[in-house]
Symmetry: C2
């Protein structure tokens, strides 16, 4: 049986009820690889900031399997993300979770895959499967990032309570419209971006807070994986403690200006870039319409916004570079 994002409230209630017999839920782990790890980053940040009563961590699948937290087991929930259900490291992590008596929540896109048998709950997330993710006609509130966030939000709310729960759910109801408008809003500048940066060999991404994961995904999944560009995702708070020394008039930076509590970090980095760099692409969540979501919860919605605005840029960049996004030289092609 499979579920949707809207079932997460009931799933968590069922798990919490079932776990009463073994001492309750004491930890919540988020596990995945690459883009599927980055997508869980907002949930990790949510637990870190909002939740004091449960242990939580975000761990890459193979590290989770080989260096498993000692407390992981019957008092744990593990929420894994696996796009097509065939990533060996994440399958191993799900299997281990099942064997060790944890409640296993799988976030995946396909109803049938290798990983399915190891999930106590299989949540099918929404995903824009059109070429270069350009269709934009999906329910963004049902994407994997939002599913993982809802696992965190429901777990906190149903254990210790979450005072901004209603505001968060209001945000879930608004995010799809915000994203659609934002994607249309950047269309023209994305084409200009592609022309400006098509001959570069390195592009940095920058971000902070709950949206750092979106900067990580853009760097490793698009620039490195799909465009073979050198890249790194720089935390805007870390920028001034090392990385900023590479700044010059030539190096390109794509910087996320989040709406919410870490905006001040991003704005500081942008001020520096405007002074010493010349080639900067700014994604500003405020300009992109995210401020309609309540300030108490807006931090957690930046990632979904940025992560869905990037495809507009990525498509244009790939066209301008004549390097289609699906091009690979190793992934799924050689043994590794």
């Amino acid at each position: 049986m499979t579920y949707k994002s809207t079932d997460i409230k009931n799933i968590i209630a069922e798990i919490l009820e079932a776990k009463k017999d073994v001492g309750g839920v004491k930890s919540l782990y988020f596990v995945g690889c690459g883009g599927s790890l980055g997508a869980l980053y907002p949930a990790k940040t949510f637990m870190e900031k909002e939740c004091g009563n449960l242990k939580s961590a975000l761990i890459s699948s193979n590290e989770f399997v080989h260096s498993t937290p000692k407390d992981f087991g019957k008092n744990s929930i593990v929420c894994l993300s696996c796009h097509k259900g065939n990533t060996p490291e994440t399958i191993a992590a799900a299997k281990m979770g099942k064997e060790m008596g944890a409640s296993v929540i799988l976030l995946t896109w396909l109803p049938e895959s290798e990983i399915i048998e190891f999930g106590d709950y299989v949540i099918l997330y929404s995903f824009d499967a059109s070429p270069d993710h350009l269709a934009g006609d999906i329910d963004y509130a049902g994407e994997k990032t939002m599913c993982a966030l809802l696992v965190a939000v429901e777990t906190l709310n149903q254990t210790a309570g979450y005072e901004s729960y209603d505001k968060f759910m209001d945000g879930v109801g608004m995010i799809t419209t915000v994203i659609r408008n934002a994607r249309a809003h950047v269309a023209e500048r994305a084409a200009a971006f592609a022309q400006e940066y098509k001959d570069d060999s390195v592009i940095y991404t920058m971000g902070s807070g709950a949206s750092y994961g979106a900067a990580y995904m853009e760097s490793i999944c698009i620039f490195m994986e799909m465009q073979w560009l050198d890249s790194s995702s720089i935390h805007t708070g870390e920028f001034f403690h090392g990385p900023f020394e590479i700044t010059d008039a030539n190096r390109p930076f794509m910087i996320q200006i989040s709406e919410g509590s870490t905006r001040v970090l991003d704005e500081r980095a942008l001020r520096f870039l405007r002074t010493y760099a010349k080639r900067i692409e700014v994604l500003d969540a405020k300009e992109l319409g995210l401020s309609v979501i309540d300030a108490s919860v807006v931090d957690y919605f930046n990632h979904s916004l940025f992560n869905n605005v990037y495809p507009i840029y990525n498509h244009q960049l790939a066209e301008a570079r004549k390097h289609p996004l699906p091009t690979r030289r190793y992934m799924w092609k050689v043994e590794y």
Copy 2:
């Protein structure tokens, strides 16, 4: 009054005793910026893997100040690292800790600095202050990384108990000799490395587990900050989920092969590099003598080893590139 790493056992005992009146210690935060954040990474990993009874997180100073965990306060310990005690973001974090009633442990190098007044306990760590950190005559067991680890180990051991405590302390007693031998061991290859890579514009670092922080520090503090090279630290478990598509015969990778539970991740990445890359520098903790430390705790000592072997390479690289390590264009020179 200032303390040393050997006082940490008593410091934690005193904090735990004092906190009984307010409900005990429930969380342990590690906070710093750049290299001082990376140095705390093993402590973060230790808490994640070994400790189930306390909340813990590693957060960059300015994010900690502007997006503070809701549970942070009188039931918290915050352990901050600040090399010369003058980093504004970390001073702000320490001040906030003091105001909010947390126990503030400061790890610093100088006995007198701006940050000192905000520390309940000021631990002076050992540091090789010689040019390019080449002297190698310090007590490596007293460095900031090991101090932070000891804060974690003592907090766990004095609350829930830590079964490998004695093995860990044995490791602390061995690490200085291991590091000194390893630094001598790489001298020749470091010179060859410098000649090979002196004309490159990008160098990647790679690592996993508790030593990922050392790869992060080498990337942001040395290659980016002190050599103005493009760089990123790639987690060896994440490599196959995006970053590996940039691999070719020209791009240089400096890869840490840890001893311990995540070694299998590093070895897998190395096998791939040996097949598809041609320019690889390997730091292997096993070859460098770390295996004398017990397998139950060895994970946590990789970082100190790698972090102290890098300076031998860094010095040679800086010489070959005629770009002295202290060179800066922005840090401490312009307003930011």
